[in-house]
Symmetry: C2
Subunit: 414 residues, 2 copies
């Protein structure tokens, strides 16, 4: 008879502190960018902790790091739990690290309790989720889901000028003790714990979010062209002002898109007027539009609304509009079976939960293409993330780890 | 008995061509920036033309160039007519050049007709009106009105790295034949012919604008600060989006300020969102606001409207707003006496005219501080200026010169 499995909360919190020290910033955050020396140090520490517990350690050609605890049927594909260890340049202590270290805690807890799982359970730390040093993000999980490394990645350079392939080779070489493994081997499922990176769980005082999928995202690059002219000499009637046209279109969109649909997201993150003189009506204004929605058809109709708003207001102001779609990621629903086992775990543990859709990208988005997958969210203070002030209450970190353990025990076919 | 004074249109048009060749650009414009070799060549050509006609040539310490035709009472302050010879880097053939060469044509016409004026008449070409190579603009007329060179000008560097004081010294030295003259000597009045740099005369098919003053101008630098957050994870209710706040304020202002008052001008020439990521709600948005109006009290009330719009909409979006005034130029009314003599000249010549306020700065704005001054505008095609496509119909250039001549003959106390 095995003892009941019980997450060691103090150990998890200590691990979070220990890893936050690797790349710690003076302001209390973390700067541990993909494939940099701090990232390598974090991989090395996790590997040594794993080897102490007798777990096997693997890395694939993308430097995705796997820590394996064998189960009853070791010829069957493992069940994967984890997240990433890299951070934004002024990142926080929890984004990625919580999901990775909680997954390691699950392995240790299973080991402490001497529980033999049906299939092997493996912790994974995906390479370069953030994409801040080397773009694109989620390289590790994307290549894993593809089963190969896209050709055009080889010449990628980082923001620091480093060649991605050199940084990758150095990272792989720094961990010779890890056993090599092919890219994209079969897995039985994937579950990722992550901080919400938004405020809704905290505001509603709910400790657990069960993530049913990832929103679809579209990026539009809009340029409205009018006629540059003198700010002082040009009367209203003679203006073809692209800034006035953009303002009018955005006003319409801000007033309609999000107020009419709580699942819709409309964000203007970038805007510039050319030539950019205080005393000249701009000749053109360019801006980015980020649209998100969990449903593909709603995303279509919002995009149509955006096009119409800019076309109408450009026409009204004697301007022309050019709209290009620069990114289009379809909504990705997660596995119903994995979601149900997570719900069952929450009920088992008596933890209040709600279903939610992830507004951010995650490694799970890519892994879901090749295996049943889902995610668990826990609240973070003020919804802050990608920020040195990122903070998760200790009880929420522990509750997340408990959910991860219980779900791992409950997942069908695990 | 002297023959009637008659502008030599062909000669004026030839002069415009000859000077447009100095610094000509392939696209048909002019790049003759202040104190550069082309500017020096233009000064040299004008000087040689003046000496051929027996006029005296002077330059003051700012390299303002004066060409004098004596009158009956040469101990009295001269009446000044002119403009500037420098251009924008991709400027046109008429901005400044028309007013300068038409003034020279007035001197030649007076000479041809052997008219003896009561006071001396002098053509002036002010140094660096444009301010595109060396900022600020209107240095020549500003220093003339001050009677000294501001201390902080000495270390000004040009966009090409040149020291202003070196370029000035080289320009002065290049014209040793010009007699030196102190800065800011007494003058009896000033009249400047200039292209409108706006479309209203052309659209209304009126050849002459009589400029009653220069608008007041205020520049505000507005920063709205909210909370940077993830574009995908942050629901509307939790957003403190400075871009939404700015849009709402600008919408209100575009809908009210200019539509309610045809003399008001509101221009947003510069805008930027920080951090400027496609997928992040910006933490702050900064923009410039250029406000103009011929009446000081209206300018005050429009500024109050702008402040209120940003404060209200920032509050509505949970943002803060910071507004700094970076430039404040009071409206400058021109001399009633000079305006009246210009009106009389238009009636005398049978030329349709309208009164207008200049939306742009001009040298006349500074000269008006020390002497009775006014301006005459002629139409330019499509209102285009500061543009290589700048164009003035020959008959409008000639009509402008005729007005300048007739007004010079009519100015009281001239």
């Amino acid at each position: 008879m095995t003892p009941p499995a019980q997450i060691n909360g103090a150990r998890l919190l200590k691990r979070l502190d220990d890893f936050a020290a690797i790349g710690a910033t003076p302001a209390g955050g973390v700067n541990r960018q993909a494939l940099d020396p701090h990232d390598r140090a974090a991989r090395a520490l996790l590997t040594s902790l794993a080897l102490e517990r007798g777990f096997r350690v693997f890395q694939d050609p993308l430097a995705n790091l796997f820590i394996r605890r064998d189960g009853k049927n070791n010829h069957l594909p493992p069940f994967l739990i984890g997240s990433h260890l890299d951070s934004q340049p002024t990142g926080g202590r929890y984004d990625g690290a919580l999901g990775t270290l909680a997954a390691f805690e699950v392995l240790e807890t299973l080991e402490d309790a001497q529980i033999e799982t049906d299939v092997p359970v493996e912790m994974v730390a995906w390479t370069n989720e953030e994409g801040s040093r080397f773009a694109p993000g989620a390289m590790g999980s994307m290549a894993f889901s593809l089963g190969h490394i896209p050709q055009d990645w080889h010449d990628i350079r980082g923001t620091d000028g480093a060649l991605w392939r050199d940084a990758l080779a150095a990272t792989l070489a720094a961990l010779p003790i890890a056993e090599p493994r092919p890219l994209g081997f079969p897995i039985s499922g994937y579950l990722e714990l992550h901080i919400e990176q938004g405020p809704s769980l905290e505001k509603e005082n709910i400790p657990i979010g069960i993530v049913t999928g990832v929103q679809g995202t579209r990026w539009l690059e809009v340029t409205v062209t009018g006629q540059a002219a003198h700010a002082g000499t040009t009367q209203l009637a003679f203006r073809r002002d692209p800034m006035a046209a953009v303002t009018s279109a955005l006003h319409t969109l801000y007033e309609t898109v999000m107020p009419a649909d709580e699942n819709a997201r409309l964000t203007i993150g970038r805007i510039a007027a050319l030539p950019g003189s205080v005393n000249a009506i701009p000749g053109s204004v360019s801006l980015s539009v980020d649209l998100r929605h969990p449903q593909a058809d709603r995303l279509d109709s919002i995009e149509t609304q955006v096009l119409a708003a800019f076309q109408d207001s450009a026409a009204l102001h004697g301007c022309k509009v050019d709209i290009r779609k620069t990114f289009d990621m379809s909504p990705a629903p997660f596995s119903t079976a994995v979601i149900e086992s997570v719900e069952q775990a929450a009920r088992h543990l008596g933890l209040p939960f709600k279903h939610m859709v992830s507004g951010a990208f995650h490694d799970a988005l890519y892994v879901a293409r090749v295996a049943p997958a889902a995610m668990i969210f826990v609240p973070c203070r003020d919804g802050l993330s990608h920020n040195e002030a990122e903070y998760v209450e200790p009880e929420h970190s522990i509750a997340g780890a408990r959910m991860l353990l219980q779900s791992t025990l409950d997942v069908p076919g695990r």
